[in-house]
Protein backbone atom coordinates (compact mmCIF):
# COMPACT_ATOMS: atom_id res chain seq x y z
CA UNK A 1 0.00 0.00 0.00
CA UNK A 2 1.15 3.51 -0.70
CA UNK A 3 2.49 5.47 2.25
CA UNK A 4 1.15 8.69 0.89
CA UNK A 5 -1.61 9.09 -1.60
CA UNK A 6 -3.05 12.34 -2.83
CA UNK A 7 -6.39 12.18 -4.58
CA UNK A 8 -7.99 14.93 -6.67
CA UNK A 9 -6.47 17.72 -4.66
CA UNK A 10 -7.61 21.22 -5.64
CA UNK A 11 -6.34 24.40 -4.04
CA UNK A 12 -7.55 27.96 -4.57
CA UNK A 13 -5.89 31.19 -3.68
CA UNK A 14 -8.22 34.04 -2.96
CA UNK A 15 -7.42 37.40 -4.51
CA UNK A 16 -8.23 40.47 -2.45
CA UNK A 17 -11.32 41.21 -4.49
CA UNK A 18 -12.61 37.80 -3.47
CA UNK A 19 -12.04 36.00 -6.76
CA UNK A 20 -10.75 32.49 -6.26
CA UNK A 21 -7.66 31.69 -8.32
CA UNK A 22 -7.41 28.00 -9.11
CA UNK A 23 -3.78 27.35 -8.31
CA UNK A 24 -4.02 23.57 -8.23
CA UNK A 25 -6.75 21.48 -9.81
CA UNK A 26 -7.35 17.79 -9.43
CA UNK A 27 -3.85 16.65 -8.67
CA UNK A 28 -3.28 13.07 -7.59
CA UNK A 29 -0.29 10.81 -7.05
CA UNK A 30 0.96 8.18 -4.67
CA UNK A 31 4.29 7.21 -3.21
CA UNK A 32 5.21 3.75 -2.00
CA UNK A 33 7.46 3.05 0.94
CA UNK A 34 11.08 3.49 -0.08
CA UNK A 35 10.31 4.87 -3.55
CA UNK A 36 11.02 8.29 -4.90
CA UNK A 37 8.77 10.59 -6.85
CA UNK A 38 9.88 13.66 -8.77
CA UNK A 39 7.44 16.51 -9.23
CA UNK A 40 8.54 18.64 -12.15
CA UNK A 41 7.26 21.90 -13.51
CA UNK A 42 8.09 25.53 -14.17
CA UNK A 43 7.89 28.06 -11.37
CA UNK A 44 4.28 28.95 -10.71
CA UNK A 45 2.95 25.58 -11.84
CA UNK A 46 1.66 24.79 -8.34
CA UNK A 47 4.13 22.11 -7.33
CA UNK A 48 5.09 23.78 -4.06
CA UNK A 49 1.43 24.59 -3.37
CA UNK A 50 0.54 20.90 -3.57
CA UNK A 51 3.22 20.09 -0.99
CA UNK A 52 2.13 22.88 1.32
CA UNK A 53 -1.48 21.74 0.98
CA UNK A 54 -0.78 18.14 1.85
CA UNK A 55 1.09 19.27 4.96
CA UNK A 56 -1.72 21.75 5.60
CA UNK A 57 0.73 24.60 5.71
CA UNK A 58 -0.92 26.79 3.08
CA UNK A 59 -0.73 30.54 3.58
CA UNK A 60 -3.88 32.23 4.87
CA UNK A 61 -5.25 32.99 1.43
CA UNK A 62 -4.97 29.37 0.33
CA UNK A 63 -7.96 27.02 0.47
CA UNK A 64 -8.11 23.29 -0.07
CA UNK A 65 -11.25 23.08 -2.14
CA UNK A 66 -11.48 19.35 -2.51
CA UNK A 67 -9.50 16.18 -2.42
CA UNK A 68 -8.00 13.67 -0.05
CA UNK A 69 -4.52 13.24 1.35
CA UNK A 70 -4.18 9.69 2.58
CA UNK A 71 -1.24 9.03 4.86
CA UNK A 72 -1.23 5.34 5.80
CA UNK A 73 -4.77 5.14 4.51
CA UNK A 74 -6.06 7.97 6.75
CA UNK A 75 -7.25 11.25 5.26
CA UNK A 76 -5.17 13.86 7.04
CA UNK A 77 -7.38 16.66 5.72
CA UNK A 78 -9.99 15.46 8.23
CA UNK A 79 -7.53 15.56 11.12
CA UNK A 80 -7.66 18.15 13.88
CA UNK A 81 -4.73 20.51 14.10
CA UNK A 82 -3.23 18.55 17.00
CA UNK A 83 -3.53 15.26 15.13
CA UNK A 84 -1.98 16.96 12.12
CA UNK A 85 0.96 18.01 14.27
CA UNK A 86 1.66 14.33 14.88
CA UNK A 87 1.79 13.72 11.15
CA UNK A 88 3.97 16.68 10.27
CA UNK A 89 7.64 16.01 10.89
CA UNK A 90 6.97 12.53 12.30
CA UNK A 91 5.13 11.13 9.32
CA UNK A 92 5.81 13.59 6.54
CA UNK A 93 8.69 16.00 6.73
CA UNK A 94 9.77 18.72 4.36
CA UNK A 95 12.94 20.51 3.41
CA UNK A 96 11.60 23.88 2.39
CA UNK A 97 12.94 25.81 -0.54
CA UNK A 98 15.58 28.22 0.67
CA UNK A 99 15.48 26.82 4.20
CA UNK A 100 19.26 26.69 4.22
CA UNK A 101 19.25 30.47 4.18
CA UNK A 102 16.69 30.67 6.95
CA UNK A 103 18.75 29.10 9.73
CA UNK A 104 18.96 31.27 12.81
CA UNK A 105 22.30 33.06 12.45
CA UNK A 106 22.91 33.62 16.16
CA UNK A 107 22.45 30.05 17.37
CA UNK A 108 24.63 27.03 16.81
CA UNK A 109 23.44 24.44 14.34
CA UNK A 110 23.32 21.80 17.06
CA UNK A 111 21.10 23.90 19.31
CA UNK A 112 18.71 24.44 16.43
CA UNK A 113 18.44 20.70 15.86
CA UNK A 114 18.00 20.14 19.60
CA UNK A 115 15.21 22.67 19.60
CA UNK A 116 13.47 20.87 16.74
CA UNK A 117 13.76 17.59 18.65
CA UNK A 118 12.31 19.10 21.80
CA UNK A 119 9.46 20.92 20.08
CA UNK A 120 8.34 17.65 18.60
CA UNK A 121 8.80 15.74 21.88
CA UNK A 122 11.11 13.21 20.30
CA UNK A 123 13.44 13.32 23.25
CA UNK A 124 12.76 14.88 26.59
CA UNK A 125 16.20 15.29 28.02
CA UNK A 126 18.61 17.82 26.73
CA UNK A 127 21.51 15.41 26.84
CA UNK A 128 19.74 12.77 24.85
CA UNK A 129 18.66 15.43 22.41
CA UNK A 130 22.24 16.56 21.91
CA UNK A 131 23.35 13.02 21.33
CA UNK A 132 20.62 12.55 18.79
CA UNK A 133 21.58 15.83 17.11
CA UNK A 134 25.12 14.52 16.78
CA UNK A 135 23.85 11.32 15.21
CA UNK A 136 21.73 13.28 12.78
CA UNK A 137 24.66 15.45 11.73
CA UNK A 138 26.78 12.36 11.25
CA UNK A 139 24.00 10.85 9.19
CA UNK A 140 24.09 13.75 6.73
CA UNK A 141 27.88 13.79 6.59
CA UNK A 142 28.73 16.65 8.94
CA UNK A 143 31.31 15.89 11.64
CA UNK A 144 29.27 16.11 14.89
CA UNK A 145 31.77 18.45 16.54
CA UNK A 146 30.97 21.03 13.88
CA UNK A 147 27.48 21.22 15.36
CA UNK A 148 28.88 23.75 17.81
CA UNK A 149 29.44 26.15 14.93
CA UNK A 150 27.12 28.84 13.63
CA UNK A 151 25.42 28.74 10.25
CA UNK A 152 27.68 31.43 8.76
CA UNK A 153 30.67 29.17 9.40
CA UNK A 154 29.09 26.59 7.12
CA UNK A 155 29.28 26.53 3.36
CA UNK A 156 26.07 26.41 1.32
CA UNK A 157 26.28 22.66 0.91
CA UNK A 158 26.72 22.10 4.64
CA UNK A 159 23.80 24.36 5.50
CA UNK A 160 21.62 22.33 3.18
CA UNK A 161 22.85 19.14 4.89
CA UNK A 162 22.01 20.62 8.29
CA UNK A 163 18.51 21.47 7.10
CA UNK A 164 18.07 17.91 5.87
CA UNK A 165 19.25 16.65 9.26
CA UNK A 166 16.56 18.74 10.90
CA UNK A 167 13.90 17.37 8.61
CA UNK A 168 14.97 13.86 9.58
CA UNK A 169 14.86 14.61 13.31
CA UNK A 170 11.57 12.80 13.93
CA UNK A 171 12.25 9.76 11.75
CA UNK A 172 9.71 10.67 9.10
CA UNK A 173 8.55 8.09 6.59
CA UNK A 174 8.08 10.60 3.79
CA UNK A 175 10.62 13.32 3.05
CA UNK A 176 9.67 16.15 0.73
CA UNK A 177 12.59 18.14 -0.70
CA UNK A 178 11.58 21.37 -2.43
CA UNK A 179 14.27 22.48 -4.89
CA UNK A 180 16.98 21.04 -2.64
CA UNK A 181 19.85 21.92 -4.93
CA UNK A 182 18.91 25.20 -6.60
CA UNK A 183 21.55 27.86 -6.03
CA UNK A 184 24.17 25.24 -5.29
CA UNK A 185 27.15 24.49 -7.50
CA UNK A 186 27.12 21.35 -9.63
CA UNK A 187 29.55 19.45 -7.46
CA UNK A 188 27.63 20.35 -4.30
CA UNK A 189 24.39 19.47 -6.07
CA UNK A 190 25.80 16.04 -6.77
CA UNK A 191 26.85 15.67 -3.14
CA UNK A 192 23.36 16.55 -1.92
CA UNK A 193 21.72 14.21 -4.43
CA UNK A 194 24.00 11.41 -3.35
CA UNK A 195 23.13 12.14 0.26
CA UNK A 196 19.40 12.03 -0.45
CA UNK A 197 19.79 8.76 -2.34
CA UNK A 198 21.78 7.23 0.47
CA UNK A 199 19.32 8.41 3.13
CA UNK A 200 16.44 7.07 1.13
CA UNK A 201 18.02 3.64 0.92
CA UNK A 202 19.29 3.52 4.51
CA UNK A 203 16.13 4.81 6.17
CA UNK A 204 13.69 3.37 3.64
CA UNK A 205 12.31 6.84 3.13
CA UNK A 206 9.75 7.73 0.58
CA UNK A 207 11.20 10.74 -1.17
CA UNK A 208 9.32 13.45 -3.00
CA UNK A 209 11.58 15.75 -4.95
CA UNK A 210 10.06 19.00 -6.15
CA UNK A 211 12.14 20.68 -8.82
CA UNK A 212 12.26 22.34 -12.20
CA UNK A 213 15.42 20.44 -13.06
CA UNK A 214 14.67 17.37 -15.15
CA UNK A 215 18.21 16.10 -14.90
CA UNK A 216 18.00 15.80 -11.14
CA UNK A 217 14.81 13.83 -11.41
CA UNK A 218 16.26 11.50 -14.01
CA UNK A 219 19.20 10.86 -11.72
CA UNK A 220 17.29 10.11 -8.54
CA UNK A 221 13.59 9.40 -8.99
CA UNK A 222 11.66 6.22 -9.71
CA UNK A 223 8.50 7.99 -10.81
CA UNK A 224 7.81 11.38 -12.25
CA UNK A 225 4.83 13.71 -12.14
CA UNK A 226 4.91 16.56 -14.64
CA UNK A 227 2.75 19.52 -13.63
CA UNK A 228 1.64 22.39 -15.80
CA UNK A 229 -0.59 25.29 -14.83
CA UNK A 230 -1.69 23.65 -11.58
CA UNK A 231 -2.68 20.35 -13.20
CA UNK A 232 -1.09 17.01 -13.87
CA UNK A 233 0.18 16.89 -17.45
CA UNK A 234 1.75 13.46 -17.32
CA UNK A 235 2.82 10.89 -14.80
CA UNK A 236 4.72 7.65 -15.23
CA UNK A 237 7.91 5.93 -14.27
CA UNK A 238 11.11 7.87 -14.97
CA UNK A 239 12.04 5.50 -17.71
CA UNK A 240 8.79 6.16 -19.57
CA UNK A 241 8.82 9.92 -19.00
CA UNK A 242 12.35 10.33 -20.26
CA UNK A 243 12.18 7.87 -23.13
CA UNK A 244 8.60 7.71 -24.39
CA UNK A 245 6.89 10.87 -23.17
CA UNK A 246 3.43 11.43 -24.61
CA UNK A 247 2.31 14.85 -23.45
CA UNK A 248 3.53 17.65 -25.74
CA UNK A 249 4.60 19.68 -22.70
CA UNK A 250 6.80 16.88 -21.37
CA UNK A 251 8.31 16.45 -24.79
CA UNK A 252 9.07 20.17 -25.12
CA UNK A 253 10.50 20.30 -21.64
CA UNK A 254 12.87 17.45 -22.46
CA UNK A 255 13.92 19.05 -25.71
CA UNK A 256 14.66 22.26 -23.84
CA UNK A 257 17.00 20.51 -21.44
CA UNK A 258 20.65 20.60 -22.49
CA UNK A 259 22.42 17.27 -22.42
CA UNK A 260 26.12 17.33 -21.70
CA UNK A 261 26.55 14.08 -23.60
CA UNK A 262 25.06 15.51 -26.76
CA UNK A 263 26.40 19.05 -26.89
CA UNK A 264 25.63 19.53 -30.57
CA UNK A 265 21.93 18.85 -30.37
CA UNK A 266 19.56 21.76 -30.76
CA UNK A 267 17.68 23.15 -27.83
CA UNK A 268 14.01 23.71 -28.37
CA UNK A 269 12.46 26.49 -26.38
CA UNK A 270 8.89 26.73 -25.21
CA UNK A 271 7.70 30.13 -26.39
CA UNK A 272 5.28 32.09 -24.27
CA UNK A 273 4.70 32.07 -20.55
CA UNK A 274 2.92 29.75 -18.15
CA UNK A 275 -0.75 30.73 -17.74
CA UNK A 276 -1.60 33.40 -15.23
CA UNK A 277 -3.81 32.21 -12.41
CA UNK A 278 -6.33 34.99 -13.00
CA UNK A 279 -6.49 34.25 -16.70
CA UNK A 280 -6.50 30.48 -17.10
CA UNK A 281 -7.32 29.13 -20.57
CA UNK A 282 -10.75 27.55 -20.89
CA UNK A 283 -9.50 24.34 -22.43
CA UNK A 284 -6.18 22.63 -22.01
CA UNK A 285 -3.96 24.92 -19.99
CA UNK A 286 -1.01 24.25 -22.25
CA UNK A 287 -2.94 24.93 -25.45
CA UNK A 288 -1.75 28.56 -25.96
CA UNK A 289 1.87 27.39 -26.03
CA UNK A 290 1.31 24.01 -27.64
CA UNK A 291 2.85 23.47 -31.05
CA UNK A 292 1.79 19.86 -31.43
CA UNK A 293 0.67 19.24 -35.05
CA UNK A 294 -2.24 17.12 -33.83
CA UNK A 295 -3.84 19.77 -31.70
CA UNK A 296 -7.37 20.63 -32.66
CA UNK A 297 -10.25 22.92 -31.87
CA UNK A 298 -11.21 20.81 -28.88
CA UNK A 299 -7.95 21.70 -27.13
CA UNK A 300 -8.99 25.31 -26.70
CA UNK A 301 -12.49 24.38 -25.54
CA UNK A 302 -12.34 21.58 -23.02
CA UNK A 303 -9.69 20.53 -20.59
CA UNK A 304 -8.41 17.06 -21.46
CA UNK A 305 -9.03 14.32 -18.89
CA UNK A 306 -6.14 12.43 -17.36
CA UNK A 307 -6.23 9.02 -19.02
CA UNK A 308 -4.18 5.92 -18.43
CA UNK A 309 -2.34 5.18 -21.67
CA UNK A 310 -0.76 2.00 -20.44
CA UNK A 311 -0.50 0.64 -16.91
CA UNK A 312 1.07 3.31 -14.75
CA UNK A 313 1.39 5.89 -17.53
CA UNK A 314 -1.10 8.75 -17.37
CA UNK A 315 -1.36 11.82 -19.55
CA UNK A 316 -3.82 14.66 -19.95
CA UNK A 317 -3.91 15.52 -23.63
CA UNK A 318 -6.57 15.24 -26.31
CA UNK A 319 -4.15 13.96 -28.91
CA UNK A 320 -2.64 11.06 -27.00
CA UNK A 321 -4.19 7.66 -27.38
CA UNK A 322 -4.41 4.62 -25.24
CA UNK A 323 -2.09 1.81 -26.17
CA UNK A 324 -3.99 -1.30 -27.28
Amino acid sequence: MAVLEVRNLSVDYVADDGTPLHAVADVGFSVEQGRSLGIVGESGCGKTTVMMALLRLLPEEGRIVSGQVLFDGQDVLQYSESQMRQVRWRGISMVFQGAMNALNPVRTVESQIVEALQIHDVVEQRRAARERAGELLQLVGIPPQRGRQYPHQYSGGMRQRAVIAMALACNPRVLIADEPTTALDVMIQAQILELLERLQAELELSLIMVTHDLGMVAETCDDVLVMYGGMVAEKASSDVIFNTPQHPYTRRLLEAFPDVEEPDSDLASIPGNPPRLDDLPAGCRFEPRCECPERGAICAQTAPPLVELEPGHWAACHSVRRVG
Binding site: D16, E60, E61, I64, Q112, I119
Partner: protein, 306 residues
Amino acid sequence: MNAVKQFVRNPMGVVGAGMLLVVILIALLAPWLAPYDPQVRVQVTPDDILAPPDAEHLLGRDDAGKDVLSQLIYGARVSLIVGFTASFMSMFIGTTVGLVAGFYGGRVGNWLMRLVDFLMVIPDLPLMLVIIAVTGRGLTNIILVIGLLGWTYTARLVRSQVLSVKERQFVLRARSLGASAPRIILRHIFPQVVPLVIAQAVLDISVAILAESSLAFLGLGDPTLISWGMMLNFAFERAISRQAWWFLLPPGLAIVWVSLSLILIGNTLDQIVNPRLRTHHLFDARRMVALAVGVPPLAKADGAGE
Protein backbone atom coordinates in the same frame (compact mmCIF):
# COMPACT_ATOMS: atom_id res chain seq x y z
CA MET B 1 -0.02 55.59 -8.72
CA ASN B 2 0.08 52.38 -6.80
CA ALA B 3 1.36 54.12 -3.68
CA VAL B 4 -1.55 56.56 -3.75
CA LYS B 5 -3.98 53.64 -3.88
CA GLN B 6 -2.29 51.93 -0.98
CA PHE B 7 -2.35 55.15 0.97
CA VAL B 8 -6.05 55.68 0.39
CA ARG B 9 -6.72 52.13 1.58
CA ASN B 10 -5.04 52.77 4.89
CA PRO B 11 -7.47 54.34 7.40
CA MET B 12 -4.69 55.76 9.57
CA GLY B 13 -3.16 57.59 6.67
CA VAL B 14 -6.50 58.96 5.49
CA VAL B 15 -7.38 60.22 8.97
CA GLY B 16 -3.95 61.82 9.29
CA ALA B 17 -4.24 63.47 5.89
CA GLY B 18 -7.71 64.76 6.76
CA MET B 19 -6.49 66.17 10.07
CA LEU B 20 -3.58 67.91 8.37
CA LEU B 21 -5.80 69.27 5.61
CA VAL B 22 -8.04 70.92 8.21
CA VAL B 23 -5.05 72.69 9.75
CA ILE B 24 -3.72 73.79 6.36
CA LEU B 25 -7.11 75.21 5.40
CA ILE B 26 -7.39 77.03 8.70
CA ALA B 27 -3.92 78.52 8.25
CA LEU B 28 -4.68 79.62 4.70
CA LEU B 29 -8.06 81.10 5.53
CA ALA B 30 -6.99 82.62 8.85
CA PRO B 31 -7.96 86.24 7.99
CA TRP B 32 -11.48 85.11 7.11
CA LEU B 33 -11.93 82.52 9.82
CA ALA B 34 -10.55 84.45 12.77
CA PRO B 35 -13.26 86.52 14.43
CA TYR B 36 -10.73 89.15 15.59
CA ASP B 37 -7.32 90.36 14.53
CA PRO B 38 -5.02 89.12 17.29
CA GLN B 39 -2.39 91.76 16.54
CA VAL B 40 -4.66 94.73 17.12
CA ARG B 41 -4.49 96.40 20.50
CA VAL B 42 -7.81 96.26 22.29
CA GLN B 43 -9.32 98.41 24.96
CA VAL B 44 -10.13 96.11 27.83
CA THR B 45 -11.90 96.31 31.11
CA PRO B 46 -10.59 94.28 34.05
CA ASP B 47 -13.44 91.84 33.47
CA ASP B 48 -12.15 91.02 30.01
CA ILE B 49 -8.79 89.77 31.27
CA LEU B 50 -8.80 85.99 31.12
CA ALA B 51 -12.54 86.00 30.62
CA PRO B 52 -13.93 82.47 30.24
CA PRO B 53 -15.50 81.36 26.93
CA ASP B 54 -18.79 82.97 25.93
CA ALA B 55 -20.74 83.52 22.72
CA GLU B 56 -18.53 86.34 21.47
CA HIS B 57 -15.21 84.71 22.36
CA LEU B 58 -15.66 80.99 21.88
CA LEU B 59 -12.39 80.15 23.60
CA GLY B 60 -12.38 83.03 26.01
CA ARG B 61 -9.77 85.76 26.28
CA ASP B 62 -6.15 85.91 27.30
CA ASP B 63 -4.45 87.99 29.95
CA ALA B 64 -4.48 91.02 27.64
CA GLY B 65 -8.15 90.52 26.89
CA LYS B 66 -7.51 89.28 23.34
CA ASP B 67 -9.53 86.52 21.68
CA VAL B 68 -7.86 83.10 22.18
CA LEU B 69 -9.57 81.47 19.17
CA SER B 70 -8.15 84.08 16.80
CA GLN B 71 -4.66 83.57 18.19
CA LEU B 72 -5.02 79.84 17.80
CA ILE B 73 -6.05 80.23 14.16
CA TYR B 74 -3.17 82.55 13.30
CA GLY B 75 -0.78 80.35 15.28
CA ALA B 76 -1.35 77.53 12.78
CA ARG B 77 0.42 79.65 10.15
CA VAL B 78 3.63 79.92 12.13
CA SER B 79 3.67 76.25 13.00
CA LEU B 80 3.12 75.11 9.44
CA ILE B 81 5.59 77.56 7.89
CA VAL B 82 8.29 76.58 10.34
CA GLY B 83 7.46 72.89 10.02
CA PHE B 84 7.44 72.71 6.24
CA THR B 85 10.38 74.97 5.46
CA ALA B 86 12.64 73.59 8.18
CA SER B 87 11.91 69.99 7.27
CA PHE B 88 12.42 70.77 3.59
CA MET B 89 15.80 72.18 4.45
CA SER B 90 16.82 69.23 6.52
CA MET B 91 15.52 66.85 3.87
CA PHE B 92 17.64 68.58 1.23
CA ILE B 93 20.79 68.71 3.31
CA GLY B 94 20.35 65.22 4.75
CA THR B 95 19.70 63.64 1.36
CA THR B 96 22.67 65.32 -0.25
CA VAL B 97 25.02 64.42 2.57
CA GLY B 98 23.67 60.88 2.70
CA LEU B 99 24.00 60.35 -1.06
CA VAL B 100 27.53 61.69 -1.19
CA ALA B 101 28.70 59.89 1.93
CA GLY B 102 27.09 56.63 0.87
CA PHE B 103 28.14 56.65 -2.76
CA TYR B 104 31.71 57.87 -2.47
CA GLY B 105 32.48 56.41 0.93
CA GLY B 106 36.18 56.65 1.64
CA ARG B 107 37.63 59.72 3.27
CA VAL B 108 34.92 62.18 2.27
CA GLY B 109 32.20 59.83 3.44
CA ASN B 110 33.94 59.22 6.73
CA TRP B 111 34.38 62.91 7.46
CA LEU B 112 30.76 63.60 6.67
CA MET B 113 29.58 60.83 8.93
CA ARG B 114 31.82 62.03 11.76
CA LEU B 115 30.15 65.43 11.38
CA VAL B 116 26.77 63.72 11.56
CA ASP B 117 27.78 61.80 14.70
CA PHE B 118 29.04 65.03 16.23
CA LEU B 119 25.77 66.82 15.58
CA MET B 120 23.75 63.84 16.74
CA VAL B 121 25.33 63.62 20.17
CA ILE B 122 24.81 67.30 20.94
CA PRO B 123 21.39 67.74 22.52
CA ASP B 124 19.39 69.75 19.99
CA LEU B 125 17.28 71.95 22.21
CA PRO B 126 20.04 73.51 24.37
CA LEU B 127 22.08 74.15 21.23
CA MET B 128 19.11 75.80 19.54
CA LEU B 129 18.50 77.91 22.63
CA VAL B 130 22.08 79.13 22.61
CA ILE B 131 22.09 79.91 18.89
CA ILE B 132 18.75 81.70 18.97
CA ALA B 133 19.79 83.62 22.03
CA VAL B 134 22.88 84.82 20.17
CA THR B 135 21.42 85.45 16.72
CA GLY B 136 18.06 86.86 17.70
CA ARG B 137 14.51 85.58 17.72
CA GLY B 138 13.42 86.18 14.13
CA LEU B 139 11.29 83.62 12.31
CA THR B 140 14.04 83.11 9.69
CA ASN B 141 16.58 82.37 12.39
CA ILE B 142 14.27 79.87 14.01
CA ILE B 143 13.67 78.09 10.72
CA LEU B 144 17.38 78.05 9.88
CA VAL B 145 18.37 76.69 13.25
CA ILE B 146 15.80 73.92 13.19
CA GLY B 147 16.54 73.05 9.57
CA LEU B 148 20.32 73.12 9.93
CA LEU B 149 20.29 70.91 13.00
CA GLY B 150 17.59 68.46 11.95
CA TRP B 151 19.11 66.71 8.95
CA THR B 152 21.38 64.22 10.69
CA TYR B 153 18.91 61.39 10.95
CA THR B 154 17.88 61.75 7.31
CA ALA B 155 21.55 61.69 6.30
CA ARG B 156 22.13 58.44 8.19
CA LEU B 157 19.01 56.89 6.75
CA VAL B 158 19.87 57.86 3.19
CA ARG B 159 23.46 56.77 3.56
CA SER B 160 22.57 53.30 4.79
CA GLN B 161 20.05 52.92 1.97
CA VAL B 162 22.61 54.10 -0.60
CA LEU B 163 25.16 51.64 0.73
CA SER B 164 22.83 48.77 0.00
CA VAL B 165 21.45 50.11 -3.28
CA LYS B 166 24.86 50.78 -4.75
CA GLU B 167 25.76 47.12 -4.45
CA ARG B 168 22.74 46.07 -6.46
CA GLN B 169 23.19 44.68 -9.89
CA PHE B 170 21.41 47.42 -11.77
CA VAL B 171 23.96 49.89 -10.46
CA LEU B 172 26.71 47.57 -11.61
CA ARG B 173 24.98 47.40 -14.97
CA ALA B 174 24.95 51.19 -15.21
CA ARG B 175 28.65 51.22 -14.37
CA SER B 176 29.36 48.64 -17.03
CA LEU B 177 27.59 50.88 -19.53
CA GLY B 178 30.02 53.62 -18.60
CA ALA B 179 27.56 55.84 -16.74
CA SER B 180 29.13 58.74 -14.85
CA ALA B 181 28.89 59.00 -11.08
CA PRO B 182 26.34 61.85 -11.06
CA ARG B 183 24.19 59.90 -13.48
CA ILE B 184 24.32 56.77 -11.35
CA ILE B 185 23.44 58.76 -8.24
CA LEU B 186 20.60 60.71 -9.81
CA ARG B 187 19.09 58.08 -12.09
CA HIS B 188 19.67 54.85 -10.25
CA ILE B 189 20.26 55.50 -6.58
CA PHE B 190 18.25 58.62 -5.80
CA PRO B 191 14.90 57.20 -7.05
CA GLN B 192 15.33 54.24 -4.70
CA VAL B 193 15.72 56.51 -1.66
CA VAL B 194 13.06 59.11 -2.51
CA PRO B 195 10.15 57.28 -0.89
CA LEU B 196 12.09 56.79 2.32
CA VAL B 197 13.13 60.42 2.31
CA ILE B 198 9.57 61.62 1.86
CA ALA B 199 8.27 59.44 4.67
CA GLN B 200 11.06 60.73 6.87
CA ALA B 201 10.44 64.36 5.85
CA VAL B 202 6.81 64.13 6.91
CA LEU B 203 7.88 62.88 10.32
CA ASP B 204 10.48 65.67 10.40
CA ILE B 205 7.76 68.29 9.95
CA SER B 206 6.22 67.30 13.25
CA VAL B 207 9.64 67.33 14.89
CA ALA B 208 10.24 70.84 13.56
CA ILE B 209 6.83 72.03 14.75
CA LEU B 210 7.53 70.63 18.20
CA ALA B 211 10.96 72.26 18.20
CA GLU B 212 9.49 75.64 17.31
CA SER B 213 6.85 75.27 20.00
CA SER B 214 9.50 74.34 22.54
CA LEU B 215 11.59 77.37 21.63
CA ALA B 216 8.58 79.66 21.82
CA PHE B 217 7.46 78.08 25.06
CA LEU B 218 10.88 78.82 26.51
CA GLY B 219 10.45 82.43 25.46
CA LEU B 220 12.53 82.34 22.28
CA GLY B 221 9.76 82.56 19.70
CA ASP B 222 9.53 85.35 17.15
CA PRO B 223 8.08 88.19 19.23
CA THR B 224 6.25 89.68 16.25
CA LEU B 225 4.21 86.55 15.55
CA ILE B 226 1.77 84.57 17.59
CA SER B 227 2.57 80.91 17.69
CA TRP B 228 1.15 78.04 19.69
CA GLY B 229 4.33 77.69 21.69
CA MET B 230 4.22 81.33 22.62
CA MET B 231 0.59 81.05 23.68
CA LEU B 232 1.59 78.18 25.93
CA ASN B 233 4.40 80.29 27.29
CA PHE B 234 2.04 83.13 28.20
CA ALA B 235 -0.56 80.77 29.52
CA PHE B 236 1.96 78.94 31.63
CA GLU B 237 3.28 82.16 33.14
CA ARG B 238 0.02 83.98 33.70
CA ALA B 239 -3.03 81.80 33.30
CA ILE B 240 -2.32 78.64 35.25
CA SER B 241 -2.59 80.30 38.63
CA ARG B 242 -5.96 81.68 37.59
CA GLN B 243 -7.11 78.28 36.29
CA ALA B 244 -7.83 79.71 32.83
CA TRP B 245 -7.84 76.34 31.06
CA TRP B 246 -9.24 77.93 27.90
CA PHE B 247 -5.94 79.70 27.38
CA LEU B 248 -3.70 76.72 28.15
CA LEU B 249 -5.53 73.80 26.60
CA PRO B 250 -6.24 74.89 22.98
CA PRO B 251 -2.64 75.54 21.85
CA GLY B 252 -1.50 72.34 23.54
CA LEU B 253 -4.19 70.32 21.81
CA ALA B 254 -3.46 72.04 18.50
CA ILE B 255 0.18 70.97 18.69
CA VAL B 256 -0.89 67.41 19.49
CA TRP B 257 -3.37 67.51 16.61
CA VAL B 258 -0.82 68.56 14.00
CA SER B 259 1.91 66.25 15.27
CA LEU B 260 -0.46 63.33 15.40
CA SER B 261 -1.69 63.96 11.85
CA LEU B 262 1.87 64.09 10.54
CA ILE B 263 2.91 61.00 12.44
CA LEU B 264 -0.08 59.10 11.08
CA ILE B 265 0.78 60.17 7.53
CA GLY B 266 4.47 59.52 8.01
CA ASN B 267 3.97 56.07 9.45
CA THR B 268 1.55 55.13 6.70
CA LEU B 269 4.03 56.26 4.05
CA ASP B 270 6.71 54.33 5.85
CA GLN B 271 4.60 51.19 5.78
CA ILE B 272 3.99 51.56 2.06
CA VAL B 273 7.57 52.38 1.25
CA ASN B 274 9.48 49.99 3.43
CA PRO B 275 8.27 46.45 2.98
CA ARG B 276 9.39 45.50 -0.48
CA LEU B 277 6.37 43.50 -1.46
CA ARG B 278 7.46 41.88 -4.66
CA THR B 279 4.55 41.40 -6.98
CA HIS B 280 4.53 38.20 -8.93
CA HIS B 281 3.77 38.46 -12.59
CA LEU B 282 1.48 35.43 -12.34
CA PHE B 283 -0.77 37.15 -9.86
CA ASP B 284 -1.10 40.39 -11.80
CA ALA B 285 0.08 42.49 -8.88
CA ARG B 286 -3.02 41.69 -6.88
CA ARG B 287 -2.35 41.16 -3.23
CA MET B 288 -4.03 38.09 -1.93
CA VAL B 289 -6.05 38.19 1.27
CA ALA B 290 -8.19 35.74 3.15
CA LEU B 291 -11.75 35.04 2.18
CA ALA B 292 -14.21 34.91 5.04
CA VAL B 293 -16.55 32.35 3.50
CA GLY B 294 -16.08 28.80 2.28
CA VAL B 295 -13.77 26.23 3.77
CA PRO B 296 -12.59 27.17 7.26
CA PRO B 297 -9.02 28.42 7.25
CA LEU B 298 -6.39 25.85 8.04
CA ALA B 299 -4.27 26.77 11.00
CA LYS B 300 -0.70 27.65 10.35
CA ALA B 301 2.00 25.42 11.65
CA ASP B 302 3.57 26.55 14.85
CA GLY B 303 7.30 26.60 14.86
CA ALA B 304 7.38 23.79 12.37
CA GLY B 305 8.79 25.86 9.58
CA GLU B 306 12.31 26.56 10.65
